[in-house]
């Protein structure tokens, strides 16, 4: 049942017209689910995991009681939205230009 749900959520995201890539990794950067090709996937999973680590420490060091909850990286070409959690990361790459 739960797997179906996961699949549904994943599909809904990937079917979104603005979304160019969806990627779910665990805290070590291992891919759990992705719709990107392997090379790009590896790039994103490695680099974004590091970015999130940095952001998390940054937030924590500014205020110990605080925590990172959502990270949006707007670039010229894309917007990368990252939802960090205890164990997993959801990374969604969207193209807001299409809006």
């Amino acid at each position: 049942m739960s797997e179906v749900e996961v699949e549904e959520h994943f599909k809904r995201l990937t079917n979104n017209k603005y979304v160019e890539g969806v990627l779910i990794v665990n805290e070590d950067g291992q891919t759990i689910k992705s719709n990107l090709d392997p090379t790009l996937n590896k790039k994103y999973s490695d680099l974004i995991t590091k970015l999130v680590d940095h952001a998390t420490t940054c937030v924590k060091e500014m205020d110990e009681t605080n925590d990172l909850s959502f990270l949006r990286v707007r670039t010229k070409k894309h917007e990368i939205m990252i939802v960090p959690d205890k164990e997993y990361l959801l990374i969604v790459i969207q193209n807001p230009e299409k809006k």
């Binding site: 749900e5 549904e8 959520h9 994943f10 809904r12 939205m81 939802v83 959690d85 164990e87």
Partner: protein, 636 residues
């Protein structure tokens, strides 16, 4: 013994000294005679200087051999005595004159040099004794001022340069080391990553099916989807002109926003009710009846939809029985209330899971028939939920105590045909009223009822006032929300399966009728070609209301513009499905329409939502015209 020996020695010394003096005198005589021989003299002097130098150098050496010993002549004696003793022990034959050797460090050399130097050496002995203390004192001062008080000499430029270079070198080395370390770490990480990369398919499956993962996905995708639905591009550059700018909104006055639909939860179900949240204007809740195909899904469902989350419900609530009516609790933004087919009232909390946090028991103390209508009355501090079931039972509940109703009231009418039960399908309270209410019934009549007995009236249905006009069951009843210069709170609208909507004026409850009286509607709106399923006043515009019917039409009326036909009538959905319910959002801009195919359609009426300043006056006129017309119509 010692003394004697010393005396002897001193004696010897004296003799020697005398001898030396004599020798000197002789020499002086020689010198004075040979004064004219300048050259010779200078040679002599240079010799003297040489000797003097030697002595000085020897004297200078002395302090180095005995550093830090400020020596007075006395102690010098002691020293020399020691020295003498030691020399006696080692070289018994050496002359005592040599005993004045300043230290023990050069014991060998004098044994060879002594015979030649003795005369010169002794001639300077007095000088030595004079100078020595001075020099010693200076020296001891020097000792006190070494290193600690002055520190090392100030470094010169070259030294600084060297130092800096050294430091730089060290830094560079450290940097290199750090880089190397980093490189190693990265490599390590890479290795680790590569090892990690081999996450097995089984593990992946395990993760995906784990509860935490499902929860994470549910939560995180929701956030991202909301963000994705943010239609405005906040990085938009207005200086760039795009030629594909489409302007499709200007044409129609009612704009379709979205349809909420979910494959799992709304397929094969119908929407039975829709309602907006007062606290969060982007949320609306819809209730659904059962899905005849999916037997193991719960019968009743209520979904909270978010205008910012278009493709999935924000919350899913379950119920054992079909949910027929639902709403957000006005005073508790997290609570959702549902009335079900079984007669249970259920209460969901979005902080909790899908199942109701509270529900009324299925017992004779509460409803045992379907609950199609309910309303919250009162204020933040004193409010009740009023529910009506089709057997004519009205219950009032306290939200935190659903075990049993606070009050129950059975609506009966003695003159009813066959049974005296009044089957309630719709219920409405006028603005700011909590005791008197109006109910629409299955046979098409609207009755007024009181929750409590008063002077001249009992609790229950007022049997005398009969609002008769509809020829079929009443599907909706709504009082004018009335917030403006004129009060229209006695006006209400009804919709019915007789294809019409009707406008009524409620009789004042302060002057109840004493004899049976039939009250006819003020006006009848008859443009629909099918059952009219619901009707609702706009919360902001005094003359505007909306209705939905069985052909899938959503009609927007403005009584100030036209009373015969709606100002906008639009086909909702592509398949002309019957529309069950409609509700306005708080601002009167958007309507949520519940369709029988399980979709909730959202429409934005745009500029139409804002009343002009004179709308209230015009409405007043319109109503008075209607009143005279209906009276004259009746008199005909």
């Amino acid at each position: 013994m010692e003394m004697e020996r010393r005396k002897e020695e001193l004696e010897k010394k004296r003799q020697k000294l005398a001898e030396l003096r004599r020798a000197r005198e002789e020499r002086k005589q020689v010198f004075s005679t040979a004064a004219q021989k300048q050259e010779e003299k200078s040679v002599e002097r240079s010799k003297k200087e040489q000797v003097e130098d030697l002595v000085k150098s020897l004297l200078k050496e002395k302090p180095i051999d005995h550093p830090g010993t400020p020596t007075s002549s006395k102690s010098d004696d002691a020293e020399s005595e020691k020295g003498i003793l030691s020399h006696h022990a080692r070289h018994g034959s050496i002359s005592t004159g040599y005993g004045f050797s300043p230290g023990t460090s050069v014991p060998q050399s004098p044994s060879i040099a002594a015979p030649r130097y003795i005369p010169e050496f002794s001639s300077y002995e007095a000088v030595i004794l004079d100078i020595a203390p001075k020099e010693l004192i200076l020296y001891s001062k020097e000792v006190q001022t070494t290193e600690k008080s002055f520190g090392p000499l100030p470094p010169n430029e070259d030294e600084i340069r060297v130092k800096i270079l050294k430091e730089q070198e060290e830094k560079e080395k450290a940097r290199q080391a750090a880089l190397e370390e980093e490189r190693l770490r990265i490599e390590d990480e890479k290795k680790k990553m590569q090892q990690l990369k081999d996450i097995s398919e089984d593990d992946r499956k395990k993760i995906i099916s784990s509860n935490e993962f499902v929860e994470f996905i549910d939560h995180s995708t929701k956030i991202v989807e909301r963000a994705l639905n943010e239609n405005y591009d906040y990085m938009k550059d207005y200086s760039i002109i795009k030629d594909n700018e489409n302007d499709d909104q200007s044409g129609s006055r009612v704009k379709y926003v979205n349809s909420f639909f979910d494959d799992r939860w709304t397929k094969n179900r119908s929407v039975t009710d829709v309602n907006w949240s007062r606290r969060n204007p982007e949320l609306c809740v819809a209730s659904y009846n059962k899905n005849p195909i999916a037997m193991n899904e719960p019968d009743g469902v209520a979904l909270v939809w978010n205008l910012k989350l278009l493709e999935r419900p924000e919350f899913v609530f379950h119920s054992q029985s079909d949910v027929l009516t639902t709403m957000f609790s006005e005073f508790h933004p997290t609570l959702v209330i549902g009335g079900t087919y079984s007669g249970q009232i259920v209460l969901w909390d979005n902080r909790s899971k899908s199942l109701p946090v509270l529900k009324t028991p299925l017992s004779a103390s509460g409803h045992t028939h379907p609950v199609y209508s309910m309303q919250m009355v009162g204020t933040q501090n004193a409010h009740n939920l009023i529910t009506a079931s089709t057997d004519g039972l009205i219950c009032s509940w306290q939200l935190d105590m659903l075990v049993q109703p606070q009050e129950t009231l059975e609506l009966v009418h003695a003159e009813h045909s066959k049974t005296d039960e009044v089957s309630v399908t719709a219920l409405g309270f006028p603005d700011n009223e909590t005791a008197a209410f109006w109910v629409g019934t299955e046979e098409g009549i609207v009755y007024q009822a009181n929750r409590y007995g008063r002077a001249g009236g009992k609790a229950g249905i007022n049997p005398y006032d009969v609002y008769k006009g509809h020829w079929g069951p009443i599907t909706g009843l709504h009082f004018h929300p009335s917030t403006g210069p004129y009060s229209f709170s006695d006006l209400y609208l009804t919709s019915s399966v007789d294809w019409t909507c009707k406008l009524w004026r409620a009789k004042s409850i302060s002057k109840p009728s004493t004899s049976p009286q039939t009250i006819t509607p003020l006006y009848s709106f008859e443009s629909a070609d099918d059952y009219v399923y619901d009707v609702k006043w706009s919360p902001k515009h005094p003359a505007m209301f909306a209705s939905v019917d069985g052909t899938g039409k959503f009609s927007l009326w403005n009584l100030n513009v036209d009373t015969e036909v709606p100002i906008v009538s639009t086909q909702v959905g592509s398949q002309a499905k019957a529309l069950n319910k409609i509700n306005w959002d708080k601002e009167g801009r958007k309507t949520a329409i519940g369709s029988s195919d399980g979709r909730v359609h959202i429409y934005d009426i745009g500029e139409l939502a804002h009343p002009r300043d004179d709308e209230w006056d015009i409405m007043q006129k319109t109503i008075s015209e209607m009143t005279t017309e209906s009276h004259s119509g009746r008199s005909k």
